[in-house]
């Protein structure tokens, strides 16, 4: 009934109640967003990797795919060794190299793009949206390259290694076979796909690959297959998707630490806010609390009533905050999606029930606990002394 009284009192002090709810909502939103930020990149990158359908990556030692310009030489032999390992179903090599792409009629300025040399049918890195997969002597572009050059399926473009002089060394003329979307492209990155042999020849990297994607058979364990490959070949790195996520996680640890600090600050602010409000509320009602103690209400009863007041404030403010956090996460995501070097598909904020529930529960527990302290203090005061002071 004390809680009922408190709930009704909220209505008599609308400004104070609204300000408190706003404070709790904002801090909850920040807390939830920081929890989402702390987990978002790793989670969404992990989901992106898993969506490609290749469980292992073969890379030069100490690197990750798209990490450096290092390559694995002598891949043809290596490929056969890897493919013969039990559990390996498919090996999809990728060579990445920067190229300059020009329209054949020189009508528009050339563009710099990342070229991916891949075998036909391996779409672990891109998705065909128009036209056909590239055959030998053909190139598949992303929509931006096509727009920049005015090229479409059937058009002819010229390619050369990026940085090569106007008097071209190696160069190639290729027909645009189709248009695709690239899963790991950052915003503003232009990408094209050639057949692996074509790009190796263009970039003078015969029998070299940047990395290879390895698909394992159903029921095979990625760690076991990885160990089996490494037992046979020790000059490369074999990384599971979990391993890639772990390394990314380690590289982004500063993000998580910053998010953790900000989340903690949010929680502390919310705790102080609710604690202060309850302390003010309790001090305004000391006489009433003393009178209730005098008529025989137990300490637990009164503390419970006052704690319920804090809990309700936290529950309402926290609920608003959770909704707010989703909106704020969407806004921040739109800003951070331009972050250089990260695939567009990777999100900083992954809205998950887990994060929202965690933020709400943390806020509820911390806020209620903050309300308990002044409530407990109030019931420890000497009832008779307060009644004496309250007497006119």
């Amino acid at each position: 009934m004390l809680a009922l009284n408190s709930m009704r009192e909220f209505r008599t002090r609308p400004l104070r109640t609204l300000l408190t709810l706003a404070g709790v909502a904002v801090t909850t939103a920040m807390l939830a967003d920081m929890l989402m930020l702390g987990r978002g990149i790793t989670q969404s990158f992990g989901e992106l990797l898993e969506s490609r359908g290749y469980e292992l990556r073969l890379t030069p030692r100490g690197t990750l795919p798209f990490d450096t310009e290092a390559t694995v030489p002598g891949f043809a032999t290596l490929r056969d060794s890897v493919a013969s390992v039990a559990g390996v179903e498919r090996v999809a090599p990728v060579l990445a190299a920067s190229v300059t792409v020009e329209a054949a009629d020189d009508a528009r300025p050339s563009v710099e793009a990342l070229a991916l040399g891949m075998d036909s049918g391996d779409q672990g890195l891109y998705r065909l949206t128009e036209g056909e997969m590239p055959r030998p002597g053909e190139v598949l572009t992303d929509a931006e390259v096509g727009d920049s050059l005015g090229a479409e399926p059937g058009s002819v473009v010229r390619l050369r290694p990026a940085g090569a002089s106007g008097a071209w060394g190696r160069r190639a003329t290729a027909q645009v076979s189709g248009v695709g979307e690239f899963a790991f492209a950052s915003r503003g990155d232009l990408q094209v796909v050639l057949r692996l042999d074509d790009l190796q020849a263009l970039s003078s990297q015969d029998d070299q690959v940047s990395f290879a994607m390895i698909r394992i058979g159903e029921g095979s364990d990625p760690d076991s297959v990885r160990a089996a490959i490494l037992a046979r070949i020790d000059r490369v790195e074999i990384v599971t998707l979990a391993g890639i996520s772990e390394r990314l996680d380690a590289r982004l640890s500063y993000f998580r630490q910053t998010a953790l600090i900000l989340a903690t600050v949010s929680l502390v602010v919310a705790t102080l806010l609710v604690g202060t409000l309850t302390a003010v509320s309790v001090s305004e009602r000391l006489g009433l609390i003393a009178a209730l103690r005098a008529i025989g209400l137990s300490r637990r009863w009164i503390v419970g009533g006052l704690a319920a007041e804090s809990m309700v404030l936290c529950a309402i403010g926290g609920g608003i905050g959770v909704a707010l956090s989703v909106a704020v996460a969407g806004y921040l995501e739109s800003i951070l999606s331009d972050f250089p070097g990260l695939p567009v598909a990777v999100r900083f904020f992954v809205v998950s029930a887990d994060s929202l529930v965690t933020a709400f529960a943390l806020l509820l527990v911390a806020g209620t606990a903050a309300g308990l302290i002044p409530a407990l203090n109030a019931t420890r005061l000497e009832v008779a002394s307060i009644l004496h002071k309250e007497a006119p």
């Binding site: 009934m1 009922l4 009284n5 006489g287 005098a294 008529i295 025989g296 209400l297 009832v383 007497a391």
Partner: protein, 224 residues
């Protein structure tokens, strides 16, 4: 001989105000038998409220003892004394101390709820007690919608809710006008006539005169 509801023996109570020690009560002894209506009079600061708080177990004496229905309050814990007050003592304050956002009915239900009386029974009991203090038509009014006299009657109803052995009222007419004070006195007399034991601390001579007997406290001592 009537049963003694509460007996105070040689009570003293010291308070510390800053560095000074103030003796509010100096060796007070009284017996309150069942059915008594006792007025404790005296000027402000004489120790009336302190005596009431000690009799009800709200406060503990510096020395001396209070025996309530045969139980020495000094041997009870804080929460045991709270439970005793909840079930055996009805307290009425000068400033009513009603929960401002609860209705009269809900305010009277409060001690019943704390005593874990089931909702249906406590509703009925609270309504009956409010009817007893002539507020049956104000059950759903909040303190803000009631006059001072009505608020005090709600407070008296709250004190009576758990059918206490003793009602302690500290300056119950202190905030009321003369006419309303008389209504409150009449209510106490009526309750006492029905068997309720009442002790009232007051400097209202008319209220004191309406009690069965009175004692005067001056400078922490009962006047001869």
């Amino acid at each position: 001989m009537s049963e003694i509801v509460v007996a105070a023996r040689d009570l003293t109570r010291d308070y510390r105000t800053g560095r000074a020690r103030v003796r509010a009560l100096r060796g007070v002894s009284i017996n309150v038998p069942r059915g008594d209506f006792l007025a404790v009079t005296g000027p402000s600061g004489s120790g009336k409220s302190t005596l009431l708080h000690l009799l009800g177990g709200v406060d503990t004496p510096t020395s001396g003892e209070v025996v309530f229905l045969g139980r020495n309050l000094a041997r009870m814990s804080v929460e045991e004394r709270a439970a005793l007050r909840l079930n055996q003592v009805g307290l009425v304050f000068q400033r009513f101390h009603l929960l401002p956002m609860l209705t009269a009915l809900e305010n009277v239900e409060l001690p019943l709820a704390a005593a874990r009386v089931p909702r249906g029974r406590r509703r009925a009991r609270a309504a009956a007690v409010l009817d007893r203090v002539a507020l049956a038509d104000r059950l759903h009014h909040g303190p803000g919608e009631l006059s001072g006299g009505q608020c005090q009657r709600v407070a008296i109803a709250r004190a009576l809710a758990n059918e206490p052995a003793l009602v302690l009222a500290d300056e119950p007419t202190g905030e009321l006008d003369r006419a309303t004070s008389r209504e409150v006195l009449a209510l106490f007399q009526s309750l006492n006539a029905e068997g309720t034991t009442v002790v009232v601390a007051t400097h209202d001579l008319e209220l004191a005169a309406g009690a069965k007997r009175s004692i005067e406290v001056v400078d922490g001592r009962t006047a001869p």
